[in-house]
Symmetry: none
DNA sequence: GATGAATGAGTCTTCATTCAT
DNA sequence: CATGAATGAAGACTCATTCAT
C-alpha cells in the first residue's frame, strides 16, 4: 500500500545499504541545510558521509536520488515520531497535547524540516508524489485527532473546517521551522506553542458560522 | 529609509535600465516557475527577455542579481497592491476585508508568490535581509490592522497574540500559493478565504485561556 | 536528396561553423589515428583544434558528433576526389585508370581512411546509415564504370558479377590502407596498383562461367 | 616457435584457468559484438561469464588482456579449422575447395570474425604483433596452396602475384563478415563463394599483361 | 579460490561570465 | 548599446582495479 519509490543500489547487502544510506542522508542534510541541494556537490556529500565518490554511487544512481532519500527519510522520521501521539482519547486536552507534541518535534527537527521544506520542490516530477502523499497522511492524522473530538462531543465544528484546521496546524508546525528568522527573535518554542494553541482553540470553542462563499454569522 | 541594495548596470540610461530589467524579470519569473532558479540558465533568461546574453550582462553583474531583482520586484508588487488596503477604519469588518483582499492578491499572483517563496532561500546572505525586511513590513501592515481594531475596542486580544496573528495571516496567504497542490483540490479561493476567516475570527472573538506550557495570564 | 544528418551548433555564423569544424576534424583525425576514438578525450580534440573545450561544445553536442563529422567529412573528401574520375569513356583503359586513380586516393588519404575504417562501427545506430549510404554510392561509381565498358562491348561479364567486382575494387582500395602493416613491406602503391589490376583484369577479359553454387565450366 | 604472449593468472590450477578463460571469452565475444570493446565493462564480462568481478581478475591482469585473449582465441579457432584444408593436392580443384572451405568458416564464425576485425586495432602495441603474426600464417596457408598448384603446372602465375592473391583471398573471406550489411542483402554465402571464385579463377587462368605503372615482364 | 564493496582518477558536458567587434 | 563567440572552472557520473573477508 505504501509503495515506496525504489532507489537502485548496486550493493546487494540490504543491511549495508541501509547503513550507508543513513550516513549519506546525515551528511547530506547537514550540507543541504548550509548550502542547499544545488550548491552541494556529490563529492561533498560522499565525503561528509565518510566515503568516496565511487562508493556513494554504489548506493544511488543520480544526485536527485539523494534528495529523494533525504526528503523521504525526514518525512518518515516525522511521521514515525508523530505515531507516538495519543489519538484515541478524543478530548480537547489530547488535541492540545498532540499539537504541542508535533510542534516540539518540528522544533527538534528544525534542520531537517527546513531542508525538506526548501528542497522538495527540487524533486523530479516522478518523486514528488511519493513525498506529497506522506504529507497528506500527516495532515490526515490531525484530521483524525480533531474528528475524534467532535465525535466525542468535545468540539462543535463545521466538518468543512476540520480539514482546513488540520492543514493549518500542520503548516504552523512547519512555520516554526521555516520562519525561524522572524519567530525565534520573539518567542521560545514553548511560547510559540502556547500562543498558537490559544489562537487556535479560542476559535474552536464552539463559535458558529454560516458557511458559504464569503459570509459568516 | 528603504535603502535598496543597488544592482550595478553598465548602461547609464536609467529609463532603459528599468525597461530592460522589467523584460528580464518577466522572463525570469516564467522560467523560475517552471524550472526553478538553479535549473534556469542565464541564456534562457536573456532569450526569454528578448535580448542577447551579452545585453543581459549590461544590466546585471551576476546571475544572483537576477534572483534578487525578481524577488525584490515581486515583494514590491505585493506590497504596492497591499497599500490599497483600508487600514484606517479599525473595524472587524475592515480587518476581514483586508484579509480577503490580501488572499485575493496571493491568488492572482500565484506564480510570482510561488517562485519567490521557493527561491528566496537561494539569495546570497547579503541580499536576503533586504527581502526579509519587506516581508516584515507586510506582516507589520496586518499588525497595524489588528491593533487598530483593538484600540477601537472591537477586539480583545492579548498584545502578545497580535504579532503572531499577523504572522499567521501572512503565512496563510502564502500557503494558498505554496500548498496549491493540496488546497486547490478542495476549495476555491473564495471558499478558502471564507473558511480561514471563520477559523481566524471565531478565535479572535475574545476567548481567554489559562492552559498551556508557557501560558500567559 | 542527400539528406545530411545535421549536427547542432550553438554558433549561428555558418562560415565560422564550417571553419571551426574543419579545425576540429583535422585535429580529431590526427588523434583518432594515433589513439582511436575512445582513447581520445574531448579536451584533446579541442586543444588539437586550437581552441578550448567550451568552444568545442559550441559546435557539437556530444563526442559522437565529432566522430560522425569526421567520418562524414572523410567520405565526402574521397567521394569528391572520386568525382574527378572519367566515367564516360567506357573503355577498359579508362576502367584501369579509374582503379589506379582510386587506389592513389586511398594511398594519399591513408590516415583518414584508416581512421574511418576503424571507427565507423563506433557510430551510433542513427548515424551509421548516412555514412553507409555514401559507401554504397562509391561502390556504385565503380559499378557504373564497369557497366559502361560492358555496354560498349569492351567487356563480357555476367551482370551478377559486376556488383561484386565493384565491391572488390572498393575493398581492395581500402585494404591498401588497413593492411598497410603487411602490404607496405612488400609493395609500393604503384606495384600494388599494377598487380591488383593485373589480377583483376586477367579475369575480366572475357572468361565465361556457368553461374551456380561453386562450379564453372 | 609460436611464442604466445602469456597472460598472468593468480590461480594456479591450469585446467581451471582454461575453463574460466573459456567462459570469459564466450561472454566477451557476445558483448563485444553488441557494444564493442570500449563500451563493454569488465563487470559485464564477468557476469556474462558467470562469475564475479573479483574472480575475473584472478584470471587476467587488465581489461586489455581480455581483448587479447579474445582475439587470440578467435584466430586460433580459425586457424585450427583451416588446418582441415587439404593443402597437399596442388590441383586447381583443391584450391577452389580450399577457398570455399575458408569462406564457409568465415560465414559460420561471422560474429567472432566481426569482433576480431573491429577490435584488433584496440590491442596494445605489445599484443598486436602476436595476433598479426597469426594472420600472416593464415595468408601463408593460401600462398602454399597456390604455389603447390603452380609447382604442379596447374597454374601459370607470376610469383609476385601469388602473395597478393593470397592476401586477396584472405581479405575476401573477412569481407563477407565485415561487409555483411551490404553483401548479405544480395547474396547467400554459396553465391558469394561461387561468384568470388569465378572472378578469382577466370583471372588466374593464365592471362598475361604488360600494361601498368610498375608492371612486370 | 571466490566474492563484491570500496576506491578515485578520469571523462564528458554545462554554463556563468567576459570582451572584441 | 548590443551582440554572440570564447573561455575554463566545476560538476555529475563511470569504471577498471584492489583487497579484506
Amino acid at each position: 500500500m505504501n509503495k515506496k519509490r525504489e532507489v537502485h543500489a548496486s550493493v546487494k547487502d540490504e543491511r549495508l545499504v541501509m547503513k550507508r544510506r543513513d550516513q549519506m542522508i546525515r551528511g547530506a542534510v547537514a550540507l543541504f541545510k548550509k548550502k542547499g541541494f544545488h550548491r552541494t556537490t556529490t563529492r561533498e556529500i560522499a565525503s561528509a558521509a565518510g566515503f568516496s565518490i565511487g562508493t556513494l554511487y554504489e548506493y544511488i544512481r543520480t544526485k536527485e536520488d539523494i534528495l529523494y532519500l533525504v526528503c523521504d527519510s525526514i518525512y518518515d522520521q516525522v511521521r514515525d515520531r508523530l505515531q507516538g501521539m495519543d489519538t484515541s482519547q478524543g478530548t480537547l486536552e489530547s488535541l492540545r497535547l498532540g499539537i504541542a507534541y508535533y510542534f516540539k518535534i518540528m522544533d527538534e527537527m528544525q534542520d531537517e524540516v527546513l531542508v525538506m521544506y526548501q528542497e522538495v520542490k527540487s524533486l523530479t516530477k516522478d518523486a514528488l508524489p511519493y513525498v506529497l502523499k506522506k504529507e497528506l497522511e500527516m495532515v490526515g492524522m490531525f484530521e483524525t485527532l480533531i474528528m475524534r473530538c467532535q465525535e466525542n462531543g468535545e468540539l462543535d465544528i463545521d466538518s468543512h473546517h476540520v480539514h482546513m484546521l488540520a492543514h493549518n496546524i500542520f503548516v504552523q508546525g512547519q512555520m516554526w521551522g521555516f520562519r525561524r528568522w522572524a519567530l525565534r527573535k520573539q518567542w521560545t518554542i514553548e511560547e510559540y506553542i502556547s500562543i498558537q494553541t490559544d489562537l487556535l482553540f479560542s476559535g474552536i470553542k464552539g463559535y458558529k458560522t454560516t458557511v458559504g462563499t464569503g459570509g459568516e454569522r
